[in-house]
């Protein structure tokens, strides 16, 4: 059984959601890893959780990227270790250049906290291999800076290499401008890196694990991850 590591920065606030999701819903081993830790021994999968690491000073994720554990996360990812950054975690992975692009303020300047729909765009990744292409997920978002940006060349490369894993859509899966509530380029909600072992996504699947809490649409994503880890 895979052991998950959830990184805790000063200002993380979805670390316990991620811990609960993996420990109590998925029945996995989970360890919290403090931002000053540098030992990832025994960790099979890393989650960089949401929140406001270091108060989002300067830019979201800009300071967290230089914390001691992030140097180890970069090494772990470069060796092919699977890493999932959710929300602020996505922003940190972007700042650390583990995935390409940058985050800007939501185009309407509002902090958006609601359930949205996103669509699985490819099953060619360890995170999405158990999903269906075109499958729609209703899961929460909660961010002010989720307006994904990348240069035209960078976007073309993401598309050509099938690195867009999730896009914002309406409830039946159409990629509309209205569904793209934060103004992200090409409706992008989640992408993977060139090596396909790092995922960054703004929506929170770890907050959509149990029906009693509103949605369990996040669960298939973690089922897919666990399945991929058990095969690997």
């Amino acid at each position: 059984m895979a052991t998950f590591g959830v990184i805790v920065f000063p200002g993380s606030n979805c670390d316990h959601d991620a811990y609960h999701a993996m420990k109590h819903v998925m029945n996995c081993e989970v360890k919290f890893l403090w931002h000053k830790d540098t030992d990832l021994t025994g960790i099979d999968f890393l989650i960089v959780p949401g929140g406001f690491s270091y108060g989002d000073y300067l830019r979201s994720g800009a300071i967290a990227r230089f914390s001691p554990i992030m140097q180890e996360v970069v090494k772990f990812a470069e060796k092919g270790g699977p890493v999932m950054g959710i929300c602020n975690g996505f922003q940190i992975l972007l700042e650390a250049s583990l995935i390409p692009g940058a985050m800007m303020h939501n185009h309407k300047l509002r902090f958006v906290c609601k359930n949205i729909n996103m669509r699985c765009e490819t099953t060619d990744s360890l995170f999405t291999s158990g999903l269906e292409k075109g499958q729609v997920f209703n899961i929460p978002v909660s961010h002010g800076e989720g307006n994904y940006f990348i240069s035209d060349d960078g976007l073309k490369s993401l598309q050509d290499k099938d690195q867009v894993l999730f896009r914002y859509c309406d409830e039946v899966g159409n990629l509309t401008e209205e569904a793209n509530f934060n103004g992200s380029i090409d409706n992008i909600a989640g992408i993977t890196n060139d090596g396909r072992n790092v995922l960054g996504m703004m929506p929170h699947p770890e907050r959509a694990m149990e029906k009693i809490l509103g949605s369990e649409d996040g669960k298939p994503i973690f089922d897919s991850i666990l399945n991929s880890l058990s095969i690997a």
Binding site: L58, A62, E95, G101, A102, H107, F149
Partner: protein
């Protein structure tokens, strides 16, 4: 000791919603002569360096590594004694 002033601005090709909102508010205030607003960051640094060129190099490294995100931002540096 040198003092550096750094201006970090969004790249011209990137939409600046904060600037647009401020521009809109200025229009509402009747300051309609303002045709465009772009909002960036101003950062002051005190630098311990032997020469102006050494100070500039330090600030350039600081900007490239942390103070600006070159995916979407540009920076300008001014060094004074």
């Amino acid at each position: 000791m040198y003092k550096a002033k750094v201006n970090v601005t969004l790249r011209p090709s990137i939409l600046d919603p904060k600037g647009k909102a401020a521009h809109h508010a200025l229009q509402n205030l009747g300051i309609s002569q303002v045709e465009k607003v772009r909002i960036g960051k101003f950062i002051e640094l005190d630098i311990n360096a032997d020469s102006e060129s050494a100070a500039k190099e330090i600030v350039e490294t600081a900007c490239a590594k942390l103070l600006a995100n070159e995916v979407m931002e540009d920076f300008e540096i001014e060094i004074n004694q």
